[in-house]
């Protein structure tokens, strides 16, 4: 069912390609459960471009973090393929003036959810995967031991199961038909609510246990499209000296809460931090809590309106809600 969408995506990109520097999209990765980013510069590369529920990566970070993408012919736009969640990162980057709307050509793809390969692997240890495809509400995988079928609900990424914005909020062209959201945003914070019901001790215990696993590899930060400080990140500077190289949960805590606070009212919950974490720490959950507060206090949802000003990036003496 995704062959048609891939075909349509390739045709649309091909039509727009002469006006574009590069198109950032997805291509097949090292096995059928994995995709990897691809940079299409000419029509010859088009056959690499793919769209499927395995296209998990949020590519918008390349627009601000990859010098190769940025340093191109300024008279031409950069093309980028986005899912609903990814498009909100674009909006946030436009709001913060890291990119200009008229510099990018957005190929928007309504998305029914992406597959979290870790959940697949936990359900059934697979070896030598030969093919993987999503059919209606099932994931069918063939490996060395034959065929395996999984219910899609069991293997979708956590963020997809609570997705309120499956359709790109900005796009120049839309590939396929819009999708009905699973939940309204007000109802999308069930996990945070379950955390909130726990006692302070239990929550502290939970986060101590989770964050103690942190290696401080900073993959979460590097994957985040809105973590734009790069090598000026205060996790690694001595001036000011917020963090040291000391080993211990307190330094890990501090890093994750600095990361979360820097994203308060900005995070679009694309889930890249959590996906990139090699230790499987639910780090997006911290940002979800902050976003829930932002929604409740200031009725603001990040990355929805390119003209809006994120509430913590402005000074308004008449601030209501606080």
């Amino acid at each position: 069912m995704f062959e048609n969408a891939t075909k349509q995506l390739r045709e649309t990109v091909e039509a727009a390609l002469p006006e574009l520097n590069t198109v950032v999209g997805w291509r097949a990765g090292y096995d059928p459960l994995h995709m990897t980013p691809v940079f299409i510069k000419n029509a010859g590369d088009l056959s690499k471009l793919e769209w499927s529920p395995f296209c998990v990566q949020n590519l918008s970070g390349y627009l601000v973090k990859d010098p190769a993408v940025r340093a191109q012919d300024p008279s031409k736009k950069i093309g980028i393929c986005v899912k609903g969640c990814d498009s909100r990162s674009l909006v946030a980057l436009i709001q913060e003036k890291f990119i200009e709307r008229n510099q990018i050509h957005v190929f928007g793809i309504p998305c029914r959810g992406t597959v979290d390969w870790r959940r697949v692997m936990k359900l059934g240890p697979l070896t030598g995967i030969q093919s993987a495809r999503v059919e209606e509400s099932r994931l069918v995988v063939e490996d060395a031991n034959g065929g395996h079928t999984f219910a899609l609900e069991d293997v979708l990424a956590r963020k997809c199961l609570r997705c309120a914005h499956p359709n790109p909020v900005i796009h120049d062209v839309l590939i396929g038909e819009p999708v009905t959201p699973r939940v309204a945003v007000e109802n999308s914070y069930g996990e945070v609510e379950r955390m909130e019901e726990q006692s302070l001790e239990d929550r502290l215990g939970f986060w101590k246990k989770e964050l103690d696993k942190c290696l401080r590899c900073y993959a979460c930060r590097n994957a985040c499209p809105l973590c734009v400080c790069q090598d000026r990140c205060i996790a690694e500077t001595r001036e000011p000296r917020w963090l040291t190289q000391r080993v211990g949960t307190s330094e890990k805590f501090l890093f994750h809460f600095i990361h979360a606070l820097h994203l308060a009212g900005r995070c679009t919950e694309c889930g890249e931090c959590e996906r990139a974490c090699p230790m499987e720490i639910p780090v997006t959950l911290i940002k979800e809590k902050l976003n829930k507060i932002t929604l409740e206090l200031m009725s603001y949802e990040a990355g929805m309106d390119p003209e809006a000003v994120p509430p913590l990036l402005t000074f308004n003496p008449g601030e209501t809600g606080l």
Partner: protein
């Protein structure tokens, strides 16, 4: 760094509950501390000399004084270390009085806390850097916001001192609440007779620019160099042409316009001059009632105006004024008596507010100075005054005393008995507050010479009976219930912050209390200053007060401005934000959040943009620092590393 620590005993203020010797001993063990001692009164002349001696003899590079709140004496000690050759920012203060000795009696805990506060101060000082001020020029023009008696006095005093003054008044005439009063206590002299000449002076002074019917739109800049945008509201009459002849008012067919100046006891016209002594005496059209604006078919005033001043097309105009200081004298409003439903204010025509009675008493008022009641124009035979309506009552959010009502009731009672000697007057009161010069004598005169019946107790209910009102209350001195039948009930409505006071405070970046009154810098020692340099307060906008106090405060604010303007330049505060360009990621978030517009883009070679702070505009609030993700922007003297050092000292 070689640091000296001086632990002040403040007589017994600190030493009473803190072992200052022990605090000094522990400080001596801290890293970089080369000298630590305890002293009786560190702020005294010998105390300061002791610091200076130690700096020289021990070759100190930084000094910590553990004493009182830095609010008062930080400048004292900064000057002291500067005289001994140190930079004034190589000094830190630990507050072990207000934060320790005065709030707890546990000597051991106090000593420990004091020692920890000293440790924090030392830890911060180790990261301190010498900072230097620069000089900025002063624009010697002053703006006065509000043209009541306090603002008029401030404007006239500044003008007399040779300063250019810009006076901004929201209404179409200056004069404020005092212009509405009939007589003033305790001398019972005519209000407009004493205020009028001052109002006239305002327009006759060449160096006062008056913007009436105008409001402050926005304020930017800083002490010495404010830029204020003033919105001159459309009056639909060209005031340069209007002579105030009143021909338009006479002919205006819209005659049912509430007369605001007369507290709605009479009707005005849609084109109006609020009162005969108005300054400027210029007509203004009220759009809400003008037939030209509401029905689109009248132009009488335009036709009859002998100078052709009426202009229906007039628009609001924004004028920009550059000033070096601002005096805020925005006055007050009166409590809405209808909040007390049981008194019937706003419901019964013959239950009126104190200011309405003031207009009734006034010879230029709705009844020409004859006391009549609003419902049927009869002379009242029995009048009841009810004190503290919207004062000293936490249940209506007004727990404070308005300070003037006891006095104005006494005045109105005396005037009533003067006008109508046969009328009987009752006053229901909670306490008599008459603490001014000749004030208590005045109230006694009302009671003893004028036979006004003072009943100590609250009124429970006021209700109509026939064409009269029944006032039910209790007399707490006799312990009995009282019922008085009256023809007229006057509610002594209290003072509340002026409408829009909070919004103006935000523009001025000054603080206000929970009731909307502006906060002075120090309740005793800096009563007319605000915490924003160059902004001063006068009159009731700071809190309830009577006319003499308002006038005194107007003069005091003017004196403060004169002192400020006696210098040609002002020293800037170097405790401002500073950008480390190597770290700045050019995201511009600091520019977006700065409440003062103090940060701008700076273009480097190759079109690279970095944030840049304008030190003279920066107020050092730290919002940019909190927002900056890589912390490239740091508040000098409160850098992240300095604060982290303090936190680490405390938490280690």
């Amino acid at each position: 760094m070689r640091i000296g620590v001086f632990v002040c005993q403040c007589g017994t203020n600190i030493a009473g509950t803190v072992d200052t010797q022990e605090v000094a001993r522990r400080a001596g063990n801290l890293p970089d501390v080369a000298y630590a001692t305890s002293y009786m009164y560190t702020c005294s002349e010998p105390g300061q000399q002791e610091i200076q001696r130690a700096i020289r003899e021990k070759n100190l590079q930084g000094v910590v004084v553990a004493a009182c709140s830095p609010r008062m004496h930080e400048p004292t000690f900064r000057r002291a270390v500067e005289r001994a050759g140190l930079n004034r920012f190589m000094f830190e203060m630990a507050n072990i009085r207000e934060h320790v000795s005065w709030i707890n009696n546990d000597r051991e805990a106090n000593t420990r806390k004091a020692a920890e506060l000293v440790e924090m101060a030392v830890a911060k000082l180790r990261f301190n850097q010498p900072l230097f001020s620069s000089q900025i020029s002063v624009n010697k023009r002053v703006m006065v916001i509000g043209g009541g008696v306090a603002g008029i006095q401030a404007a006239l005093d500044c003008s007399d001192g040779g300063l250019d003054v810009v006076l901004v008044e929201r209404k179409s005439s200056i004069g404020g609440k005092m212009a509405q009063l009939d007589k003033t206590f305790p001398t019972v002299d005519c209000s407009s007779c004493i205020l009028g000449p001052k109002m006239v002076d305002v327009v006759q002074k060449d160096n006062i620019t008056l913007h009436a019917a105008s409001e402050v739109e926005s304020i930017s800049g800083y002490v010495g160099n404010f830029t204020v945008e003033v919105r001159k509201k459309a009056t639909y009459v060209d005031w340069t042409a209007c002579t105030g002849c009143g021909a338009c008012i006479e002919k205006c067919p819209s005659r049912k316009v509430p007369d605001v100046f007369n507290e709605n006891l009479a009707n005005a016209r849609a084109i109006n001059i609020p009162f005969p002594q108005a300054i400027p005496k210029k007509a203004t059209i009220n759009r809400d009632y003008c037939l030209h604006f509401t029905k689109g078919k009248c132009g009488t005033c335009q036709k009859v105006c002998p100078t052709g001043a009426v202009n229906y097309e007039m628009q609001d105009e924004i004028v920009t004024e550059q000033v070096g200081a601002i005096i805020v004298a925005t006055g007050y409003d009166l409590f809405d008596a209808s909040v007390y439903g049981e008194y019937g204010g706003g419901r019964y025509a013959d239950v009126i507010s104190g200011i309405q009675y003031e207009r009734i008493l006034s010879a230029s008022g709705p009844f020409g100075g004859h006391i009549k009641r609003p419902s049927d124009g009869k002379e009242p035979k029995d009048i009841v005054f009810i004190a503290c309506v919207g004062s000293r009552d936490a249940s209506v959010g007004r727990p404070y005393c308005s300070g003037v009502c006891c006095m104005y009731i006494a005045k109105q009672a005396i005037l009533t008995r003067d006008h109508l000697p046969d009328t009987r007057v009752w006053v229901f009161y909670m306490d008599i507050r008459a603490p001014g010069k000749n004030y208590d004598e005045f109230v006694r005169r009302a009671q003893e010479e004028y036979g006004v019946q003072y009943i100590r107790g609250r009124v429970g209910k006021v209700y109509p009976k026939g064409d009269r009102m029944v006032v039910q209350g209790n007399d707490t001195l006799l312990g009995v219930q009282v019922e008085v039948e009256a023809d007229l009930v006057v509610l002594a409505t209290g003072i509340e912050a002026s409408a829009g006071a909070r919004e103006l405070a935000e523009k001025l970046r000054i603080s206000y209390d929970q009731y909307g009154f502006y906060m002075e810098s120090h309740p005793k020692l800096r009563p007319v200053e605000t915490n924003t340099a160059g902004v001063y307060l006068a009159g009731v906008c700071q809190g309830p007060k009577d006319i003499p106090s308002s006038v005194a405060m107007g003069s005091a604010a003017a004196a403060k401005v004169q002192a400020l303007f006696s210098r040609d330049t002002i020293e800037t505060n170097p405790q401002v934000a500073l950008v480390n360009e190597r770290v700045c990621i050019s995201c511009g978030k600091c520019i977006q959040v700065c409440p003062f517009g103090a940060i701008q883009w700076k273009e480097l070679r190759g079109g690279i943009r970095k944030a840049e702070v304008l030190p003279s505009v920066c107020q050092g609030c730290g919002l940019c620092n909190a927002t900056c993700p890589p912390k490239a922007i740091q508040l000098q003297h409160a850098t992240d590393n300095q604060i982290l050092a303090e936190v680490n000292a405390l938490c280690a």
